[in-house]
Subunit: 219 residues, 2 copies
DNA sequence: CTCCGATTTTACCAAATAGTCAAGAATCCG
DNA sequence: CGGATTCTTGACTATTTGGTAAAATCGGAG
């Protein structure tokens, strides 16, 4: 049979090669949507806002993504892999301190370079993770347990101080994403200092120093 | 003259003693609103949702708070002081490690007992802190700088390892509030374990161990 | 150039939502 | 009790919002 499934459904969710215009406009929409959803979450954002930010009429935007939910899902998928990559990159064969130093640095870099991505996830999780809930319970869970196993081995080999690996991962997420998610608060406290050139290095240095050495004085 | 300013404006924003019914219903509304705003933020929440959760008709709810914004502001004010109290309680005359241990423990307790308050602030800050922006730039900023001064002194007295005090405060906020704000994610990773009796102690132990001692192995 | 599908726009609609109003019900106080 | 006040509700309005329909325009292959 092998029906030639020239399946209807417009340009959406089909297998046709996207035109150049489609590729460009979808990208524009996803960027605009990321900014909007990152600030107000799914329910608090409007299609009009996204259309305005994309400099596109609302019906035109809905030509590329039929429904608000479709945009939201696309933005999340578009960002999820990148966001998780640094954790996946922890090398079981590497030096524990160096691997964690690199992980923390990478996460801080991402918070600085793509804060909207972090805020998007924060909003999604705050709302109860209605869309990425499954992902969290499967792939994220597996990845965390895998890397926790690596850290646990490092501890058992006395290459790290005794520490609960999962809580360590949580703390690294918290500390690094905080700089993206609570940027407004950090700016309120630190002012323009945040935009000075050395700030990111200073932040990385502080976070690394605490996580690696703690704050208890060493004699 | 001394006009008897029996100022109009119903029961709102006036100086009259609230009736018992008013006190009770306002409290019910604030609790319901906290739950709702904590999940979806200001824009993503609806008055109907709040009314439903408060088991009250919408017009009745709006009899107590004329506008959605008024409820939101009231909830924020109602929660702000409590949320900041632990930081204010850090005692410059106390033992540094003990003071910070107590601070972290208190913040973790609040995250566990009043997660909605944490999520409410997270949503507000993610949205750009449109309501509490002023507060952040004044009272919070002052408080942080004051306590940062205390920590800085502790460091200079070698009672703490060298650490940037403001980043230390940020990290403590991040690590503790993470357990409230990202509860769904933590449950996805850890499952029912989160509800077991010892979990809070285990969390506190892990966070304290990392912040106080770091993860670098000590010989 | 010309045609045809791809893209964009104009004009809509229905549902959701914030907020109003006036009348009815409950409560308080003398 | 009885009247004044407080509280509650049903019915309503104006606006916002997600989404649709169809006509107009564009752009690229032949």
């Amino acid at each position: 049979m092998e029906a030639k499934v020239e399946d209807r459904g417009g340009i959406f969710a089909n297998h046709r090669q996207p035109t150049r215009i489609q590729a460009v406009n979808r990208e524009i929409i996803l960027e605009a949507a990321l900014e909007v959803f990152a600030i107000h979450g799914f329910r608090g954002s409007t299609v009009d806002q996204i259309a305005a930010k994309a400099e596109m009429s609302k019906p035109n935007l809905l030509y590329y993504f039929r429904r608000k939910q479709d945009i939201y899902r696309a933005v999340l998928e578009h960002t999820l892999a990148d966001w998780l990559a640094p954790l996946a990159a922890i090398d079981p064969a590497g030096d524990p301190i160096e691997e964690l130093r690199r992980y923390i640095t990478l996460k801080l870099d991402m918070s600085a370079k793509r804060p909207a991505a972090s805020r998007l996830f924060a909003n999604e999780v705050l709302a109860g993770a209605p869309v990425i809930g499954d992902f969290l319970e499967t792939r994220l869970r597996e990845l965390v347990h895998e890397k926790a196993g690596v850290i646990r081995r490092w501890v058992s080999e006395s290459r790290l101080a005794p520490v609960d690996p999962v809580h360590l991962i949580f703390m690294i997420w918290a500390a690094t994403q905080h700089y993206a998610d609570f940027d407004v608060q950090i700016r309120a406290v630190l002012g323009s200092q945040v935009d000075k050139p050395g700030f990111r290095e200073q932040t990385a240095q502080a976070v690394l120093s605490i996580v690696l050495n703690g704050i208890r004085p060493r004699m």
